[in-house]
């Protein structure tokens, strides 16, 4: 508000009698709006101080120059119309103030009419509404762009105004009843928050499920505020509604994910444990309780967990970049027992923030028992095959002996000395074979408990190759050991594996000897690590085997070396390898050579005395 004094001008004392004169002389300047008079040539002939404050200098200027900074009459000049018809006008215009800034104003144009109806002048009264326009625009922008739906409802529950966001979601609903527009109902809803606001004039909010213009259900958080509150009465209520559909969907998804996770953790056959960044236990599922022998709902303390896990495991997990996996280890139960487990641990990070650690513990007691039983079953099967093979071997020997006897008897009957000699030789030869067979079989059947000790797998292969090298040179066979990459130590019965490789390399050299191109034969021995298994491979390019020979090679006392072999070599190899939890693979092509592979999965190797955790894969 501004204050000021308007002086009496030429009147010394203003009275009821001379007030008219005061008005004539001072009113023009006293009016707070800008007032100007223009003639028919659009010249400003008179203006008050308020006009000068708004538009600046005006003398000897045209109205369009002062109002709009133009050089010619405005195309839609309202003054021109008023000069013509003598009617007063009110219109909103935009021009420039004395500082060149855009100015919004309302202009009242009043014609000054002669008795003859001619209009020589116009009186123009201008009110500056620039600030009002700006406020109105800001309000409209806010109304339309605010991230929620806004609508105004009257006392009849008719929608009188909506913002852009609301129209986008529900279409053109202005003029409709809100219960019809949002719910398709024919009457006001049972619990209407707008009604409550109309009744008590207070703010009310709540949740509402409505249908959008595409027919989909939309969940809104709605707030009603009273509008046009005058003297405690109001005619309008403003509804502000935020779409919470996505939030509710996320809440539902989160709830589902949480339920799935909780169920999986609770029902998991493996123990699941989590700890927070202070090592306090946050999850210790039923399987973990069973495995660690934790009774009832007893809480496990962090010190107890550290004692349960292998020594240093927790700190190893805490500092590792990736998960730490111990495929074959043991944990201590709460009652002081030990349980073989497969154990994995990982750090829990969210956006690089350390939240704690999670552990999976798989009880391996049943698995270990099954594995033991399987190994035992494999050993028994090997014994069965051995017995079958023994019968076959003995039958061949008997046939040889019977042949010798037949030659001897028939030679004696016929008085054929040559045949007698032949029979004697056959008997002698086959008795020698029986002796060799029995000796080797005794050594095979006697067996021994394998003694596993940590050793370098490559060293065994190197020893066997070194042992055969002189004979290979003699026979013109190229025998090499391909060591490859370094291999960690493994618990093996060194003597047993040595015997296996001796058999395989010996067989490979014999296959070379039997080959037609024996001068160009190779035997390659390699030691490698593949898919968690230690592999010895013996490859020859000797005579190879056909299908039927391959079928029998491990299952009977079958020799392909005529009188030179007993057929026990491969069977012995198979037995020793099985006792290490492994198996023998074979590929062979007649005329091209054979590959024998001893595969020893590390997880099934016998435990060496004082063995520690298996290495990580």
């Amino acid at each position: 508000m501004t204050t000021g004094r308007t002086g009496g001008g030429t009147i010394a004392k203003i009275t009821r009698e001379n007030i008219d004169r005061w008005i004539q002389e001072n009113l023009f300047q006293a009016i707070p709006m800008a007032v100007a008079v223009i003639d028919q040539e659009y010249n400003l002939v008179y203006a008050n101080n308020a006009f000068t404050r708004m538009f600046g200098a005006w003398r000897n200027k045209k109205c369009y120059t002062v109002y709009k900074s133009r050089e010619s009459v405005c195309p839609d000049c309202k003054g021109k119309d008023a000069f013509f018809d003598g009617f007063a006008r009110v219109n909103e215009e935009v021009g420039y103030n004395k500082n060149g800034r855009i100015t919004h104003y309302i202009k009242h144009t009043v014609p000054i009419v002669n008795d003859d109806g001619d209009v020589p002048f116009l009186l123009e009264m201008v009110t500056d509404i620039t600030e009002t326009v700006h406020i109105r625009r800001e309000h409209q922008l806010l109304f339309d762009q605010v991230p929620c739906n806004i609508l105004v409802i009257d006392r009849d529950y008719r929608i009188v105004r909506t913002n852009r966001r609301c129209r986008e979601m529900f279409g053109d609903i202005e003029g409709k009843f809100c219960y019809k527009a949002f719910r398709g109902e024919g009457q006001i809803c049972d619990r209407c928050l707008a009604r409550e606001t109309f009744q008590d004039g207070r703010l009310h909010s709540g949740h509402s499920a409505v249908r959008g213009k595409d027919g989909k259900e939309v969940h809104m958080h709605v707030t009603y505020v009273p509008l046009s509150l005058e003297d405690g009465k109001m005619d309008l209520v403003m509804e502000m509604a935020v779409d919470v559909t996505q939030l509710m969907d996320l809440q539902t998804q989160l709830k589902i994910a949480l339920t799935v996770m909780e169920t999986m953790i609770a029902e998991s056959l493996d123990g699941i444990i989590t700890i927070d960044d202070k090592h306090d236990i946050t999850i210790f599922n039923p399987a973990a309780r069973a495995l660690f022998n934790v009774q009832g709902r007893r809480r496990v303390e962090k010190a107890e967990l550290e004692a349960m896990m292998p020594e240093g495991f927790l700190s190893r997990v805490e500092t590792a970049d990736t998960h730490v996996y111990l495929p074959d280890t043991a944990v201590r139960t709460l009652d002081g027992g030990s349980c073989p487990v497969r154990l994995a641990g990982i750090r829990l990070l969210v956006d690089e923030r350390f939240l704690g650690m999670a552990f999976w513990v798989q009880d391996m007691r049943k698995y270990k028992q099954l594995e033991k039983e399987k190994l035992e079953a494999e050993r028994l099967a090997a014994v069965g095959q051995t017995v079958a093979g023994l019968a076959h071997g003995i039958k061949n020997l008997i046939t040889g002996l019977e042949g010798g006897l037949y030659m001897l008897n028939s030679g004696m009957k016929k008085g054929n000395v040559d045949r007698i000699g032949q029979g004697m030789e056959m008997l002698g030869r086959n008795i020698e074979r029986v002796a060799a067979f029995v000796k080797e079989f005794l050594s095979f059947s006697k067996g021994r408990t394998i003694q596993a000790a940590p050793c370098d797998p490559r060293a065994i292969a190197e020893e066997v190759v070194a042992m055969y090298s002189p004979r290979a040179r003699e026979l013109g066979i190229e025998l090499v050991h391909e060591a490859g990459e370094a291999i960690p130590q493994a618990p093996l019965d060194g003597a047993g594996i040595h015997e296996c490789l001796t058999n395989l390399v010996g067989n490979a050299m014999d296959a070379c000897v039997m080959s037609e191109d024996r001068q160009n034969c190779h035997v390659r021995v390699s030691t490698l690590e593949r898919d968690g298994a230690l592999v010895y491979q013996v490859v020859d390019d000797g005579c190879g085997m056909d299908y039927q020979v391959k079928q029998k090679v491990f299952t009977t006392f079958f020799t392909t070396k005529g009188l030179g072999g007993t057929g026990l070599g491969l069977l012995t190899t198979k037995k020793i390898v099985q006792e290490h939890g492994g198996h023998v693979e074979m590929e062979s092509d007649k005329g091209k050579g054979s590959t024998f592979r001893i595969v020893l999965p590390r997880s099934r190797l016998p435990q060496a005395a004082g063995a520690q955790d298996a290495p990580e894969p």
Binding site: A391, H392, K395, N396, I398, T399, G400, E402, G403, G404, Y406, M407, S410, R419, Q422, M426, R429, N430, M514, C543, D546, Y547, Q548, V549, Q551, K552, T556, F558, T559, T560, K561, G562, L563, K590
Partner: protein
């Protein structure tokens, strides 16, 4: 009638040839090496006694070759082995060994160790079949 004995073990060849010759059969033999087919074509035996388990090449492989050769496929073959009793040498066992469902079964099977009367009886039966044909 001529009988061919194919076995890698010289002692068994000597034995079987002696038994057959003593009982009036003409004989010839092979050691199961790669030239078996040429030997059979040359000798043209009336019956072949073929060992199953031999080095280099199994009797089954030789049997397959003989059966695939039209000129030799009609010569009866008796397989001989100590790997199973004669009673368990069934078609199923033969198929599993031969890994071939189309291959015709051999005419006979003789179990090692050989019982001479049984051998001679089986040989006589198989040769009677040849004569009748």
């Amino acid at each position: 009638m001529k009988i061919m004995v194919i076995d890698d073990e010289p002692d068994i060849r000597t034995y079987l040839l002696a038994v057959l010759e003593d009982n009036g059969y003409e004989t010839c033999s092979g050691d199961g090496k790669d030239s078996v087919r040429e030997d059979v074509e040359k000798e043209r035996p009336d019956l072949i006694i073929l060992d199953i388990m031999m080095p280099r090449r199994s009797g089954i492989s030789i049997y397959k070759e003989l059966r695939s050769c039209p000129a030799l496929s009609r010569i009866p073959v008796a397989l001989i082995s100590g790997m199973s009793p004669a009673a368990s040498f069934t078609e199923e066992a033969f198929r599993s060994l031969a890994a071939d469902d189309a291959l015709a079964m051999p005419e006979g099977f003789i179990e090692k160790p050989v019982k001479i009367p049984a051998l001679l009886e089986r040989v006589a039966q198989l040769l009677k079949g040849v004569r009748d044909a």
